[in-house]
């Protein structure tokens, strides 16, 4: 292409910011199919996050602890409020609920192996409890979901805690989805559904609506399990102040709060990207709700949605969380999206790191699939070891930061240890913009 047209200089071809190549490909896909895009994973857009926060570290007024030598405790007890057997964890990094169906049996086994070796808990998901994960998890949290697939009192009594799922950060207000390709005989039997159908999990619980009913539902679950195990309530990052207040009022022993970066097995892309609030934005209102009720540290707050490193763990805890949960990061530790499968990702029209068509069940890494051949590529023992390593590193990283801030327990980290790099992050985390003693909204209601 010449730079001139009959002697008149051409302007450089200019792509639109509004109608960029991503947007245009979405429009072409929609026009060709007539149906929205479904995918796995969490929000891919950039949102204010823990990356926008920094720890200040020790100084003349705060003295640090010696790395490796001075103790920095990482243990946490969850659910001591009403349960006679609360959950005791060695590290505050837990494994989030991921459904059998979305993940293969061996992948669930690996999560159990890795979590148990690291002294933490793992969580079932939509579709019920599998022997693989029960057998390999010393602490297993059993999800009580709107679909109630596979729900039964025998598994309920095998659980170390029960998690009533109201919402998920990736899709607040949406139910689950498992497309026909992944409804194998085993998945179909566990869910009591015909094989091969596109299965939609309900978005609302079938037998309770609202906080007053939830309180009675919690009573029923406690009666069935003899008041032994903690009952968590999981909510999406929608209206954290009110959701946490209502969940505590209903009698929850712990709250799981999941921000919009949180992964999902499959949902509409428009839902993932446009509904819900970023993880950074939901934590302070949730902590405020607990403090207003006098329940902070009595009802534990487990934060999830885009947690990747010990730094994220330390920041979540400094802002008031008692523990965190990881989904996507755990899958990556197991081998999801590994560049070693690049040529296979290319065949699927994608590239390592961007692969998110988990709903199709064609995962080259053999994790988000029910296909026996693909599943056989994944070794649950090796996967468990990798997850254990990763959980250990996250814990060590969080301890490194805590010691640098002079704390002998991760729970002693506090907002005062943090500064923000951007106005948005300062406003959301309610910590000073770096170099100032101010944040937007300081002195406001929360």
């Amino acid at each position: 292409m010449s730079n001139e047209n009959n002697g008149i200089p051409r302007t450089t071809p200019r792509q639109s910011y509004t109608f960029n190549q991503d947007v245009n490909s979405d429009i072409r896909r929609a026009a060709a199919t007539g149906i929205y895009d479904i995918r796995g994973g969490g929000a891919k857009r950039k949102v204010p996050s823990f990356d926008d926060l920094l720890f200040m570290g020790a100084s003349i007024s705060r003295y640090p602890l010696e790395g490796y030598r001075e103790k920095c405790d990482t243990s946490v007890t969850i659910g001591g409020l009403n349960a006679s057997n609360p959950i005791e964890l060695d590290t505050p990094v837990t494994i989030a609920g991921m459904s059998f169906g979305a993940l293969s049996g061996p992948a669930k086994e690996a999560l159990g192996r890795g979590a148990s070796a690291a002294g933490t808990s793992t969580t079932t998901g939509d579709g019920g409890m599998t022997p693989e994960e029960r057998g390999h998890s010393t602490k297993l949290v059993y999800q009580y979901l709107p679909s109630r697939y596979g729900m039964n009192p025998n598994d309920l009594r095998k659980a170390d805690a029960i998690e009533i799922v109201v919402g998920q950060g990736a899709k607040p207000g949406g139910g689950g989805m498992l497309l026909g390709q992944k409804i194998s005989d085993r998945v179909a039997a566990m869910r009591n559904l015909p094989k091969g159908i596109d299965q939609r999990s309900a978005c609302r619980h079938p037998d309770w609506t609202g906080p007053d009913d939830l309180e009675i539902k919690i009573l029923e679950l406690r009666e069935i399990t003899g008041w032994k195990v903690p009952i968590y309530v999981k909510v999406a990052g929608a209206r954290p102040y009110y959701d946490v207040t209502l969940a505590v009022k209903a009698g929850a022993d712990a709250i799981v709060l999941d921000g919009m970066q949180g992964g999902t097995a499959a949902t509409q892309d428009v839902f993932i990207e446009h509904v819900g609030q970023p993880t950074l934005a939901i934590i302070r209102p949730a902590v405020k709700a607990l403090q207003d009720l006098g329940m902070h540290r009595k009802v534990q707050l487990i934060l999830s949605g885009g947690i990747r490193s010990g730094a994220d763990v330390a920041k979540a805890m400094a802002l008031g969380a008692d523990a965190v949960a990881i989904g996507t990061a755990a899958l990556i530790a197991l081998g999801d999206n590994d560049p070693k499968w690049e040529s296979e990702y290319n065949k699927l029209g994608t590239t390592a790191g961007a692969y998110d068509d988990w709903q199709d069940g064609l995962d080259p890494a053999g994790i988000t699939t029910q296909d026996p051949e693909l599943m056989a590529r994944f070794d649950p023992i090796e996967g468990g070891r990798r997850l254990h390593n990763y959980l250990s590193v996250m814990t060590l990283e969080a301890q490194t930061i805590a010691r640098a801030c002079g704390k002998n327990h991760l729970h002693n980290l506090e907002p005062e240890d943090l500064v923000a790099l951007t106005m948005e992050a300062a406003a959301m985390a309610q910590v000073p913009l770096a170099g100032t003693d101010w944040w937007p909204g300081k002195g406001g209601s929360y």
């Binding site: 679909s147 009591n192 559904l193 079938p206 309770w208 009675i216 009573l219 029923e220 003899g226």
Partner: protein, 225 residues
Amino acid sequence: MQTFDLADSDLRTLNSTLHAQNDDTNQTAWTIENPKGAHAIACGLDAPIEVTIKGSTGYYSAGMNQQATVNIKGSAGPGVAENMMSGKVVIDGDASQYAGATGHGGLLVVKGNASSRCGISMKGINIVVHGNIGHMSAFMAQSGNLVVCGDAGDALGDSCYEARMFVRGSVKSLGADCEEKEMRPEHLEILKDLLEQAESDAKPEEFKRYGSARNLYNFNIDNAY
């Protein structure tokens, strides 16, 4: 016969006593006095015992029942026999919303009427209602049989899967993807058996059968709602 008076004792003691019964218990008959609408009465049972509740109950009575027979000599609050696995629950009066929700097995009999969302998300349970049922009943019902000797409200069987709905009276409206189906001899057999177990004198031939049109089983834009 063991008697338990909720006016003198509390729910926890009642349920833990009932939970302590196992397959070989010889204390098989229990009566509960003064239920006074309490919630979660006799939930989570798992023994071949017969429990008679002398009055009306609150939410989730006989929830997640296994093996036991629970007779409610009054009306039942929301979610009676929710997620029942096996056994039998009989309500002399009416049942509130979500009766038999997500039940996997066993038989639920309502001698009066049942409110909205009866049999919601049912997964194998059999439900027989002598009277009428409310709107959105058998919503997303997966399997099992819902038998209604009276009338059904709006949106019966919305988004249902393989559950069968049998209605003797009128159906105000059918929900998404639910249609009337042919009544075949095997269905008449199922009905006959369930009506007998539920002590109803309705005749199988008087019923119509409803079930999934299976148009929503795979995503197809022309069938989307």
